[in-house]
Symmetry: C2
Subunit: 488 residues, 2 copies
């Protein structure tokens, strides 16, 4: 692939000086339009060492109002980033609606540096690209424009530049042995990079290989391409996928939840078992911590089904330094301006830690679906997005347990009434709880569809029969214990 | 001091089991009142190794709705934290109004571990405590309740516990050589910790030493004290300092800014000098980066004084990976719920990096003062808070340059008109700019007071005469160059 690029390409001084002010002004204007129309925009600048990534990035950012962009200079991961999936640090940096995120080096460089090794390089690239393609597709599905540039120079040109930098008193100290090692392997990296680009050059997130021998040509080409892509999108010539179309034709019926709500545990049996299970949970936490395995526990369920009480028992003996309970309610302004999964990524456990989500990303296909907080195509798309997110987390060595706390509608009513009568619990019940209750059947449908579509073999839902609180709590703990046993 | 504590103190089973449910419920209720009244609450749990910090922390968090608190388990700093002042990681974790921040170990442990060394321990403690006292006082001034607990056990008790943990299959691997070293030096740490506590046991942020031989006694005492402090505050018995009192009696006149606005530079002189200065700024950036010195550059000035243009020239040749331009506008909801300096701490440069603030924390004593976005006592207090914040940053090896861009009122009018007439610049001018212009004299007073009160010997203001843009830009760059020369 690379051989078809003419690395001698150049632009003469005059043409460059004539074109650049216009390109800058246009980019500035387009950025303001992006902001006004709420389009998130991702620019990736990749390339060989010394190919001018910093230079081109500088030219881009200087054309844009600093209020409009974030620049993420990708280096080695920090220790916090290292304790997560390799794409995590990038997902939490995706742009909000109307903003530009510029990645000077990106998930591609990191995949090459961290993810790819071993004998079968081609195979390794294939695996890394699959996660990357999903990541980029999710951004585009959410309305983002994604543009990727690879700055291409020859091995000779690279050598010349490295030598120049090495001799410069300002930059000399930055050139290391590693840079030369990489240079010496230019020819063996070439086909890997070709394959990488080839497999991720999608219609949604296209690559543009830029001949970068002449830095002004590289700048000119990159700015031109960015402006072209933005103009196309903002003029409406290239609309995001037709996301508004409702895909709902005939209503499909999903299997009901299997839950025998009559199950109970008497108190004399409950008390010693609870203690025994809690001890085992505590033990499991220590071992997960020691082995650096991160665990996600998701609690969903009807209002008043007992999520809070179950969570209290679950964490009752855990070391508070190693877990976090994340209560999830309606997204705030900043969260709404991002991809719907963004706020959850921010809370993902690092290696060895446990995060308990009290409600979760499943809100997208439950309350947001029912209340119309998102469009139909958005919640329909969410099943796949969620499965992909969970799969990513699992493939990196993490664990996920998902609970649906099931109660009878009459039992819910009884509990609501009880809360109203108890002055210590009145704060727990709101108007909204009553409104949700009115929509029981709609929620029921949504729950059944959710469980059917997101119970994967690796992250299945567990239905917790919760009319009896003792039974409910014990089953929750037992499930966590059994699951962690399989992880260890 | 420590000898006066009776480490044999204990609570019997019955009393404990009777008291605990009440203490928990009360704490849960008080936390909801904190939330309703917008009181931020800081709990610090410190203590000897193996004194039960984790246990007591667990008892606290389990009594509180997870929606209401954040637990910050203080360990070694991450690499990002390490690249900042040692208090930075804590300042960015302070609670928002109505929330509780629990620090399991805190700035005290870290000061001991990182800040204190050398021969004269007593002297070192004195220095560390001065920064800590300022930090805690700023929180209290902002309305926070700050409570600090030190869990105290004897050397013998510590030995017993370390041995127990070492033999436990779950925890054995966590006990390291370092724990035993620390244990062996118990007696030499004792007076240091005493001095530390003594010097930071202020009325605003008191210490409570808790006898922790009996874990239940420690839990009981800590919960009791927390509840007592919250009750006192929420009942209004202990109000925060009388922050509403206007301290403004007679209006003081501050010296006017010295600025000869007739200064100009002709273009033929400007163009080569700009290039020369930009090259030197670039050079300075590399050296700061190499030497890991962080630099803050603050731009304040009249609307249309040319801040944007000056910043563009300043960063024109900088490496975009090493600087960030932070445009500051009105605080958003989350920012308003925090200490007014919090949002700026979040953006502080790490070692070797440059942050350019386009407007800054000085908004507190400019726009927020004039527009009444904060109370008079709040902006009056801000001068000192700002000086302290800057002093902290400087004392840690950083640099600060502060610019006020001064123009004539008529020049501003001319520029406003020019912007209106230029279709490419119309977006730059808003209704607000015109409103601010009406308040020129009020702003003038505020600027003079600001410059007088926050021009310290180490972080003075530089007035940039900006009626002539060329002169303005060159003086800005020259000032940065001269300043960085003194740093290097």
């Amino acid at each position: 692939m690379f051989e078809r690029y003419d690395l001698a390409k150049t632009i003469d001084d005059k043409a460059f000086n004539r074109a650049i002010p216009d390109l800058r002004e246009t980019l500035g204007r387009l950025q303001r339009s992006c902001r006004d129309e709420g389009v998130p925009f991702v620019i990736v600048i990749e390339g060989w060492n010394a190919s001018g990534i910093t230079h081109v990035t500088g030219e881009i950012v200087r054309a844009i109002d600093p209020r409009g962009y974030n620049l993420y200079a990708t280096g080695r991961p920090t220790d916090v980033e290292q304790a997560h999936h390799f794409l995590w640090r990038f997902f939490i940096q995706i742009p909000a609606k109307g903003r530009i995120a510029i990645f000077a080096r990106s998930w591609y460089s990191r995949a090459l540096a961290e993810q790819i090794g071993g004998i079968n390089l081609k195979q390794a690239v294939k695996q890394a690209t699959s996660a990357i393609r999903i990541f980029e597709r999710q951004l585009v599905d959410d309305g983002a424009v994604v543009l990727k540039f690879f700055l291409h120079i020859s091995k000779e040109e690279q050598k010349k530049r490295l030598l120049e930098r090495e001799l410069d008193k300002l930059t000399g100290w930055m050139i290391t042995r590693g840079d030369w090692d990489f240079h010496n392997q230019y020819d063996s990296y070439l086909p890997v990079i070709e394959q990488f680009i080839d497999e991720t050059d999608t219609g949604d997130a296209p690559w543009k290989v830029v001949e970068a021998t002449d830095p002004r040509y590289a700048t000119f080409t990159t700015l031109t391409q960015i402006n072209k892509a933005l103009q196309k999108r903002l003029s409406g010539k290239e609309l995001p996928r037709d996301n508004n179309k409702n895909t709902n034709g005939v209503k499909k019926k999903y299997p009901g939840l299997i839950a025998d709500l009559k199950k109970t545990v008497p108190k004399p049996e409950y008390t010693p078992l609870l203690k025994q299970y809690q001890d085992r949970v505590k033990e499991a936490q220590y071992i997960l911590y020691k082995r650096k395995i991160p665990l996600i526990i998701v609690f969903e369920g009807w209002d008043a089904a007992g999520k809070g009480g179950n969570i209290m028992r679950l964490i009752g003996t855990m070391n508070p330094r190693g877990y976090e309970v994340v209560p999830v309610s309606r997204a705030n302004e900043e969260e709404l301006a991002h991809h719907h999964l963004w706020r959850f990524y921010l809370k993902f456990p690092k290696n060895g830690h446990i995060t308990v989500f009290d409600r979760s990303w499943y809100g997208r296909v439950l309350v947001e679906r029912i209340e119309g907080f998102c469009r139909e195509d958005e919640w329909r798309r969410a099943y796949r997005e969620i499965n992909e997110m969970e799969e990513n987390f699992l493939s990196d060595g993490g664990g996920i347990v998902k609970f649906w706390l099931e109660i009878d509608r009459d039992e819910q009513l009884a509990r609501f009434r009880q809360r109203i009568e108890d002055p210590g619990k009145q704060w727990k019940i709101t108007e909204e709880d009553w409104r949700n209750r009115e929509k029981w059947d709609l929620y029921r449908e949504a729950v059944e569809e959710m469980v059917a579509k997101t119970s994967t073999s690796t992250a299945p839902w567990t239905i917790i029969e919760s009319d009896d609180k003792y039974y409910s709590r014990l089953k929750t703990l037992k499930t966590v214990i059994n699951y962690t046993d399989t992880l260890l």
